[in-house]
Amino acid sequence: MSENQNPQTNQRTVTTTAEQPRTTTAGETDERTHDAWTAYDFDGDAKMTVDDLDVYYGDDHALKGVSMEIPERSVTALIGPSGCGKSTYLRCLNRMNDRIPSARIDGSVRFDGQEIYQDDVNLVELRKRVGMVFQSPNPFPKSIRENIAYGPQKHGDLDTGLLARLLNRSDAAERDELVERCLRDAALWDEVCDRLDDNALGLSGGQQQRLCIARCLSVDPEIILMDEPASALDPIATAKIEDLIADLAEEYTVVIVTHNMQQAARISDQTAVFLTGGELVEYGDTDRVFEDPHSDRVEDYITGKFG
């Protein structure tokens, strides 16, 4: 574990550890965080590096000085009570918070070593490479095939328009290949292969969510951000999504926000715990965080005494 302790704020002593504590904002809160608790050593490269990230919604300080490194090809779970800033954090990773006019973001997020919060970032390219799946399934009111082909078509990678068809340059074959590959990767192909032209809104909730995952895969992302993807689904659909996430982690970097601690424990390689006030309190190997948390507050939260 690295010992990059912040020396400027040692106003309190904490009895549980010998190391120096740090308060995020002096005098504002007595909630304590500790850099050592969030320093996580892992093998391999960091896909995403977040440094001292602050987010404000107007006057509301939603995320306070979060720093964490997300390893490649793994599942990272973000847990914490409602309103702790974990979804806000997730939406910073592909700059979806830009769409909220009152949001202000300070700090640094590096994706493969490149800063994404600078002026001339190509948001189209960033969001292609950092895909996102939302809490409630949100397929477009179009056919299953159109839903999958939507992204690549809009990026100009697939052309099946009238002109292309007239000029005999249609990519219909490539499109169908892509649709099949994405649906297979999202474990949905067998259920929908005979009704690809039906409206996606006719699928069940779990199928819709897997369709959204397939749609997200269609633009070939490297990271998939998932914002409570199973919270609106029944246990069987949830189990399917969890299996799918485990498979996806072999090829993609998955970051998942969840309310369900059992789910986090089941599927993730490392877990980050956010607590009320927008602080990252603990981050580390999932087994370690759940079995032997450093922080009392995290232990209370995990055992259900708080949160």
């Binding site: 769409r99 009111p141 179009k142």
Partner: protein, 542 residues
Amino acid sequence: MAGARTTDTQLVEDETTEADAVAALAIGVSAILFALAVASMFERITLTGTLAGVQTVTLLGGLLTALGLTVLVLGVGSRFGYVESTPDPSAGLIAGVGAAVPWALVGGSVASETLGLGTGGGVVGAVVVGGVALAATVLPREDVGSTGPLGALLVVTGLVFSTGVIGPTWVWELGWEQQAAITAEFLIPVATLFTTLYGGWASAKAYGGFGARGRHMGAYVLVYLNALSIVAFLFILVAYVVVQGVPGLLTGFEIGLGTGPETTIFGVSIALPVSVPFVMNGVALLNDFQGVLPAIVGTFWLVIGAVLLAVPLGVGAAVFLTEYAERGRFTQVVEVATNGLWSTPSIVFGLFGFAFLIPRFGNGKSLLSGMITLGFMLLPLVVITSREAMLSVPDEYRDASAALGVSKWQTIRSVVLPAALPGVVTGVILGVGRIAGETAPILLTMAGGTFVPGSQTVDVVGSFQFTSAPPFVANPALLEATSALPYQLFALITAGVGLGSNVSDPNAFRWATALVLLIVVLSFYAIGIVTRYYFRRRLKHT
């Protein structure tokens, strides 16, 4: 008064009792009476005529009396425990006011007119009688309160009509300067209509056994009759126009090979196998039968032109307002401006077209000026409805698209607009219904003046020409004055334009024009509904 409930509330109702059957019958009688009242109001049945062998007035009065007695019996029966019910301690103040208003009217009229006590006496009478009705409704237990005053009202009204106190020839001269009078033809249907509503309400309450369930039934019957009357009014209006218009429409109608006018379709000249001169001819001196074909064609092109102008502009403005502009003072101003534009009287639009467009387009009334004027009239509604439709597209779609890296404009084009289309189409349907029937702007910008309205059919498709000088295309037909159906009707009624020597009944000709206008407008409406259905189906799973 506010005694304990006569019976315990039961979870499961017993089988239909006699009282339920009587109450249901009373509701049925109210519905029949309601229909009869509407029919006689529109003179579909005459008061002096007979219906089922009885004079109509007597029948109405008798049914009203019977309904009133039934309501009274149901209330009293419930009060003395012959009928199972769960009444509340009081019928409530709203029911009280509801009963007091008609009674106050009766009291006031009787005191001031029948007893000759003058205005002051009328006011006293109204207050006294209304007050008594209010007290009689509010003070007793609900079953008596909500049936007694209303049942009595029905009985009194019914007896007055059936005994001839107010007969078919009754007239009440109001003694105003304008010689206004209330006649029996007006009073009897209106009084029947309203008292029937009261009767239906009271018997529905009785059917539900009073209490909460009774009030629910009462409200249900009232709301249902309301909805029914909307359908009834539309049906009566359409039926009226059809009945009056069909004879004129079919004047000179012939069917058989070669009877119709010569028509050129794709270069082949054939004679249509039917001849309906009214919709196939224009107005000309030597015509056997005059027709309104130019006006139909004019209306058609007018609507097409207005829609082509207003829809792109309106949808574009709505896209800007919902997707791009930040919500603030500017969007508020635009919103107020569009609403204001929509409420602007059509004659003002007409004047604008007359003063601004006509001097710029050939200095004469023209189809083009009419199209633009009506396009501007249609614009605000398209903006308002498109905006609502786009606001109701869930933000999840926009998020999903943005998360795929798709740009805002592409998202709008391929996700937001398709999802909003049914709403946009609804707006255009409503707008077309309005502009297709506009007379004033057409009068000022498109028709009228020196030419005989409806003498030439405008040929928009056929008069496209290519020219050697810019703008290289020209369409003289767009700059010609032409007629449209509402204007044709107006000209017919005010100036008798288009009446030929063979038209023996000008009225039939007018009604036929109105019928054609109605058909044209309803056809646009039908096209809109089919389009909307098509887009909705595409958005929903089947």
